[in-house]
Symmetry: C2
C-alpha cells in the first residue's frame, strides 16, 4: 500500500559529537533511543496500514527534520505541524506535504503564509479553519502566492478546544470553503475528545453525511492523537490519522494507556547532586527540563529502574526525589538517572540538541530543529 | 552605600527590529516593559540599601546579559546564576562577580568549571556545596585554574530541597571548607522555607554561632527568593539577598504576595484565533509558551484588563479561556491579549527573543542569552 525503504532513522540525521562516550554526557540532557524510534514508527505505520488509514505523523513531538524524513520514508503520506514556525522549519528541511493544524489569524501570520508558499512552489500545504471569518484572509494569502489552498474544517467533536461545535456547522463551513475561489475543501479534521471518543465517532460521519447531502464532497476525514490510536472507536470512519507522541511515548502513555516502558524512546538524563537525607535525592533536572506537566499522575516522571521512586517536586533546576525504604537503585551522588518524562512533547521543546543512541551505543547529537517555534 | 549611575535598562540592551510597530508583533511572544523593570530594579535596590543588605539579583528569571549589567550599574554587588551554562553566558557577556548556586558534581561539570575560570582570570566566582564529598572535586578543578575558590555552605533551612539539614552539619561542613587548601569559606547560604520562614530565621544564626564557636569565621550569610524579600523574617540576620522574580514579577506574586499588577513587567502576547462558543476564546499560547506551572492558582495566567477571564486549560499550543457572562474585553478573533504568566521564570526560558517597550512604545527585540541553558 505504501512505499517502504530499507532505512534507519540515523540515515536521516545529521550527527555532531560523534566521538562522544556516555561519560561525556553533560546533564541534564535528553537521549533518544533510535532502535525504539524505529520500532515505534514501524508499529504506527503497520497499524495504519492494517486499518487502511493514511499515516500523517505530527512532528510537534520531535521537531527534528530528519525524523520527519524518516517517517515519510517509512510510509507516511505527509506530516502534521502545529504552528507556522514548525512549517517553515520543516519546509526548509525538504518536507513537502503538510497540514498546518492551527488557525492562521492576522496580517503577520498571513504574510508569512504567502512567503512560505512562494518560497517553496512545490510545497503541498493545507491549513485548518473553524469559522468563516478566516476564509477571506486565507484565500488572499494563498492567491498572492498563486496557490490553491486546501482547507480542513476543524471540528470540536468533544475536546472542548477550537473547532465548529456541531455537524451542521461543519457542513455549513465546508460548503463555504468549497465554494470559495482560491480555496478547496481538504476534508473534516478533529482532535478526539478525551473520555468522549464515542461522541467523536458520531460527530464526523454525521458531518460528512450533511456535507454530502448538500453536494459537498469530503475528500478525507482526519483524526489524531496517540492515546486514541488503538482504541475501538479511534479509527472509525477515519481516512487519515495524525499521531505525534507515539514516536517516543512517555509516562502518561505507559501509566494511563498501557504502553510498555520498553517503548519509551526519549529519556531525560539527570545527575544526582545531593543526598540530603536517606529518603531524599536531588537531581539537576527541574521544571526547565521535565516541565510541570502532571497529566493526572503522581510525580513528575518515572525513574528507569526504580518504580518506587517518586519525583515529588520540581523547582526550576532541581528535582526532589522521594525514595522508598528499599530503593531499587543505589542513588549515589554522581549517579546518572534516566527519567521517562510525563509528557514528552514539551520536554523535547526545551532542548536545543538531543543525544541519539542505539543498542547502548551513543551515536552523537542532533539538533532539535523547530525547538521553541511556537509562533 | 552603593554606586548609582544615571542609566536606563535600554542602555545595556542590544536591540534588533528597532523599526517595528506593535502591529508587526507575531504571537505568541513576550514583551518586557522597561519602565516597570526600572522601577522594580530600583525598588529592590532601595529596599536592600534601607536594610543594609547587599543585593545580588538572580538572573535565572531574565537570562539577559544586558539586564544583569543594568542591575549591577544600579547597585548590585554581583549576580547569582543557577546553572554553569548560565555562568558561562554571563561571564562571556562581561559579568565578573557571581555565585553559582548549584552543586557541581561529576567530571564533565568540573572540567567546565576549570575552563570557565581559566578563560576569565578576573572572574570572581563562588559555588555552593552541601556535602563534604564534593570538596575534593571542587578544589582540584579550582586549583587547575590556579583560582582560590570561595564555597558557600548550602543550608536546607526548611525548603526541603538540598542543603545540610542542621546548623551543626552546616558548621561541620564550613569548618571542612575553611581548612581545605584551594578553597575558602564564602559563608552560609539558603533558600528560605515556604511557609517556614521562622525556621529559616532560626537556622542561620544558630549555624553561624556554631561556626564561630569552632573558630570558623562566616563572612556572609545569604538568603534569597522574591516572595520572602519583604516579609518580617526575610532579612533577619541576612547580609546578602538573592531575588530573581522581582525584576518582572508574575501572577503568583500578584495573587499570593500582594504585588501590584502594575509591577508586572513581562507579559505574553497572544492572539485570539477562535471563538467557538460565546463563553470560550482560544488563544495561540499554550503550555509551550505559558508553561503548566499553576503554583496553587486557578488558571494558567491573568488576562490584563479582564480579571473575570480564566485561562482554564492549556494544550501545547492552544490556550482555552473561559469567559464570564459579561467579559471586560471584546474577545474578537484577531485581538491580541496580554497575559501575566503564573510563573515568569520558566516562561522567559521558552523564548529565544523578547520584545522590549517603554511607555507604550515598542523599542525592539533583545536576545534571551541564556535561554535553555539548564546544563
Amino acid at each position: 500500500m505504501t512505499k517502504r525503504m530499507n532505512v534507519k532513522p540515523e540515515d536521516f540525521l545529521t550527527l555532531t559529537q560523534t566521538g562522544a562516550d556516555w561519560r561525556d554526557l553533560d546533564t541534564p540532557c535528553i537521549v533518544i533511543d533510535l532502535a525504539r524510534v524505529e520500532k515505534n514508527v514501524a508499529d504506527l505505520q503497520a497499524y495504519c496500514d492494517r486499518h487502511q488509514v493514511k499515516n500523517r505523523p505530527h512532528i510537534k513531538t520531535h521537531k527534528i527534520v530528519g525524523l520527519a524524513q524518516y517517517q515519510m520514508a517509512m510510509g507516511a503520506v505527509g506530516i502534521c505541524v502545529q504552528k507556522l514556525g514548525e512549517a517553515e522549519i520543516m519546509a526548509a528541511g525538504g518536507l513537502r506535504d503538510m497540514i498546518l493544524a492551527f488557525n492562521l489569524v492576522g496580517a503577520v501570520k498571513l504574510r508569512r503564509l504567502t512567503d512560505l508558499l512562494q518560497k517553496y512552489p512545490d510545497l503541498r500545504l493545507a491549513v485548518v479553519a473553524d469559522h468563516a471569518a478566516m476564509l477571506d484572509g486565507l484565500a488572499a494569502a494563498a492567491q498572492a502566492a498563486n496557490y490553491p489552498l486546501p482547507v480542513w474544517v476543524e471540528c470540536d467533536s468533544g475536546h472542548g478546544r477550537n473547532g465548529v461545535t456541531s455537524p451542521a456547522a461543519a457542513a455549513e463551513l465546508a460548503a463555504r470553503i468549497a465554494a470559495m475561489p482560491g480555496l478547496s475543501l481538504a476534508g473534516l479534521f478533529t482532535y478526539p475528545a478525551a473520555g468522549g471518543r464515542v461522541a467523536t465517532a458520531k460527530f464526523l460521519p454525521e458531518a460528512k453525511q450533511l456535507c454530502q447531502a448538500r453536494g459537498v464532497a469530503v475528500p478525507v476525514v482526519s483524526s489524531g492523537g496517540s492515546p486514541d490510536l488503538t482504541r475501538e472507536e479511534g479509527l472509525k470512519g477515519i481516512d487519515e490519522y495524525r499521531a505525534g507522541t507515539s514516536i517516543y511515548y512517555d509516562r502518561a502513555h505507559i501509566d494511563r494507556f498501557g504502553v510498555s516502558p520498553d517503548q519509551a524512546a526519549l529519556t531525560v538524563h539527570a545527575t544526582i547532586v545531593s543526598r540530603p537525607t536517606p529518603g531524599r535525592a536531588i537531581i539537576d533536572a527541574g521544571s526547565k527540563s521535565l516541565t510541570s506537566d502532571l497529566f493526572g499522575l503522581s510525580g513528575f516522571g518515572r525513574v528507569v529502574g526504580d518504580d518506587s521512586a517518586v519525583i515529588a517536586r520540581l523547582d526550576e533546576e532541581h528535582g526532589v526525589i522521594t525514595l522508598s525504604d528499599t530503593p531499587a537503585l543505589p542513588y549515589q551522588i554522581g549517579d546518572v538517572l534516566r527519567i521517562i518524562p510525563n509528557h514528552v512533547c514539551p520536554v523535547s521543546n526545551l532542548f536545543a540538541r538531543a543525544w541519539v543512541a542505539r543498542a547502548g551505543k551513543l551515536l552523537g547529537q542532533v539538533a532539535i530543529d523547530a525547538r521553541g517555534r511556537v509562533d
